[in-house]
Symmetry: D2
């Protein structure tokens, strides 16, 4: 299967600003690339675009990061890639066993610790009460994922940069990253290494679900390897393309600006395409019942 991904993101910068972008595919995906990844950093203007020099480096998690000094004005980050994908769903293995901590590789131990959005020190009692009775390993990992999926409601408007796993646990509403943060925290609390992942998850062989965005999911370490889990969508999917992994969203922000940067345009797409580059049509969704209106608190004027 071929997957073509593309993005076009623009910021207005009031001042020159240093930026770090994690927009390249993860090194582990590189060998599946057909041709080279195309990526442009430009200052755009009425008359002409000017390319901004950017330098790549690998961070301590193994991600490909791009750093550049963005000039004042309008900045455009755009790119496309074509990936040959095996076409299979996310891997599943009911038998994947949990490693006792003493067996874990050294560089994996860090994914058992607290991080900005994952406060194990505040959630370990809760995790033990909820999942202590479930058999270790794969079963426990997916029980956590399912619990989060079933107990948290998605609401795009509920996003905020300060929201931690405990906030998600108490408020029970969140966006993609919030679902994963809560699941990661509960998973680590049960001594299963878990890390945050970001990348493309287009509507591929599933019905259209709205305008594209980058997506977040997470990975757990069981039976000697990392497995992909997703507390938000919670069904095995086809066509995730990994961009970066880290302790939590702090480590893998798509862009980090050291100065103000107003997002003025945002377009991301990831589609299955034919050999000739045409989009493969999506299946049609079954007719759904109308959505339940969520409660709205008055008095916000």
């Amino acid at each position: 299967m071929l997957i073509r991904s593309e993005y076009d993101i623009r910021f207005r910068l009031p001042k020159p600003t240093t930026m770090i972008a994690m927009l390249r595919l993860h090194p582990s995906v590189e060998h599946d690339l057909e041709g080279s990844e195309d990526l442009k950093v430009e200052r755009i203007d009425q008359d002409q675009n000017r390319e901004i020099p950017a330098r790549e480096y690998i961070d301590s998690f193994g991600n490909r990061c791009l750093r550049f000094q963005a000039p004042m004005g309008t900045l455009r980050l755009s790119g496309t890639s074509l990936v040959r994908h095996h076409g299979n769903h996310d891997d599943v293995d009911d038998e994947a066993r949990q490693h006792p901590v003493e067996e874990l590789p050294d560089d994996i131990l860090q994914f058992l610790l607290s991080s900005r959005y994952c406060e194990l020190d505040r959630m370990s009692h809760i995790a033990c009460e909820l999942f202590g009775a479930i058999p270790e390993g794969w079963q426990r990992a997916v029980a956590i994922r399912d619990w989060v999926h079933d107990h948290v409601r998605f609401d795009y408007k509920s996003a905020r940069p300060t929201k931690t796993a405990l906030d998600v646990f108490t408020e029970r509403v969140g966006v993609c990253r919030d679902f994963q943060h809560l699941a990661i925290t509960l998973t680590r609390a049960m001594n299963i290494p878990a890390r945050y992942a970001t990348g493309y998850l287009g509507d591929i062989r599933v019905p259209y679900a709205g305008p594209g965005d980058f997506s977040a999911w997470y990975q757990v370490y069981l039976g000697g390897r990392w497995w992909t889990l997703d507390a938000r969508h919670n069904t095995p999917r086809i066509g995730r393309l990994l961009m970066a992994v880290g302790r939590d969203a702090t480590d893998v922000a798509i862009t980090t600006s050291f100065g103000s940067a107003d997002l003025i345009h945002f377009h991301v797409e990831s589609n299955e395409v034919t050999q000739t580059g045409e989009k493969v049509p999506l299946p049609v969704a079954p007719a759904a019942a109308p959505a339940i209106t969520a409660s709205i608190a008055p008095l916000n004027s």
Copy 2:
């Protein structure tokens, strides 16, 4: 000046639910009423509306509260009132002095304490550092109001039911109630009694500012009486109609439901009207520069 206020609020209730509503004007406004306040609590249906019996009581803050048992289905709360208003702006007195705590009336002392959204125990050091050097009394009270107004950005989408004064201080974004909670907390920390107020604040003799809503402001106790301040709008206004006061938003929710209740319709208006009941036209706003686009974080899908 005559002010006509009206509201029409509807909820869908999946089950019978007890509700408390603070939809009446405050007892202090009563003598300005022209005619009686009209208020209806109804279950609405295709064919007919059925009035729901409601009982009024006065809470410990002196507010008129309505309680009723709402049946399953669609609930409508609607009402109108006509108030003769003096037409003056909110009172201002640069000389209003701060009472030493020992002088304060007994029933005012409670407005120096912490409450759900006003954590004095976490903000008193901050308040002293910011406002300790400003002369006591009126000057200090408005310095606090102005600081909050200048340092917090309004964003309708930033509302959430758990947001405390400290959250507003750190996030610097909020809705009406958030501005007031932060100002109240900082004010109490400086030993000036402050309480939360809710009511109507229509666009009266100011340009149209968007669809109506109930509004929140706050009051400070100086020189032997309560004064109206508003950290959100921060200019003296004409035509506030008080509905309820309390320690913070917890005490004066427009409606409190002891069960789930989905808001499905919300209309509030408060306008100056002529003797014959016609709306007095509003002044036209001066042309404004286009609004700056606020920064939006990606990765929320």
Copy 3:
């Protein structure tokens, strides 16, 4: 049974300070008083003590509060009382039914709302998951009390003025007031009115448990009356003497100072006495296993 209570509390005040003290017995206990409550507010000095005039008022919860202007120097609050007590344990009634909210008296509704230390808005999902399946009424109320008692560890050193019910839920350690705050929050979340109580709970007909202090417990409203529960001790006790009730500890602080006040002496005792005023000896505790040493985190120098 006769209970004699006494306290002697001293503060050093660097400046004159307004204080409010809740050191009197609650009006509901008054008719059990033998003689009058003795209470002194003094400034103490090498040579002589000088009485400080204090004025009593009743707050909105019905508590007797004392307010006075304390001069700079050493302040002493002391008092004794002798109460004729029925000698029975805290009341218990397995049949006490839960009122639907619509039946609750008006002035009790406030004890269903959030307050400074009781964030219902953050804990209602948690409460429903833990206790939603337990039958309503007495059974549910004591299930909450027992859960808190069993899941929170007492540690005197864990006290802090900012600790909320959610903090207690996540940290699982606390002092007296923390146990009650968590229990109150979970109870209110299940629509049972709950309020915070403070008073004397001496070692009466139980083995000596260490130096005395004021104590905190809580009350739930079931079957038309308030019942005493105590998530800290969690066994019916004899000889509680109520001093004050409120939404949470904010409302019933033994002393509130509007300025700095360093506690330099603290003595509280409450004992059963004979008709002639001698202390009734306590039963001897069964020999206990040595206490388990709690974990101590290094790196605090």
Copy 4:
């Protein structure tokens, strides 16, 4: 100057537990070692001690970590080292310039981000208001350090594992690590890389200050190198021996146990010694005024 450091730490383990210890000196100190570092991991018993095999690895921050499987029973971690130290105070350079972010080395960028105890997303407005007007570079870095030192009170009893920089900012009381977390957060918010450091800081050429402990300080990156700052002690000191660096205390815990472990003995010392190994006597402290009694809240029984 010669510095001899030693520690003896014991835990009681109810079950076999995996542990990670950061008890070795940092690789950067290695070339100053006289002889080899002595380090023992033992299970101790009435009759005999049994050495526990431990394996060393280097984490992503460059720290030497020891991992081992501790058996049930009493675990003892002990060691000594002798280091030849230059005898100078911590380096100071008023001219050290702040790098624009675009100049910073790749592997230093991570020390500009949020971490568990350092919530930049909640403190950046505060940092800008407090320090935005102070000249960049060394001057701004020490202004932050001094502010924290002057506004936070040390209290050993105020330690808790969940305390973040924002908690320290609001509560204004903390232990060693809390001072550094607040300073690190404010420093990063001003775009100066800052990292947490832990190691020995014995009473060397300063008066005796009480029983020893490991200590925490922090480092800032200015003028092409890391500088040691210490918001707790806030005077240049002699004889810090670095053990580990990381984003915050999460990364450099002296010991991390994946299971319960009760600390039952804790002894740490770091002293200047003569060539023959005798402790160099400390200077005598000037007579001090008696300590001010801190305020103690009653009602914690």
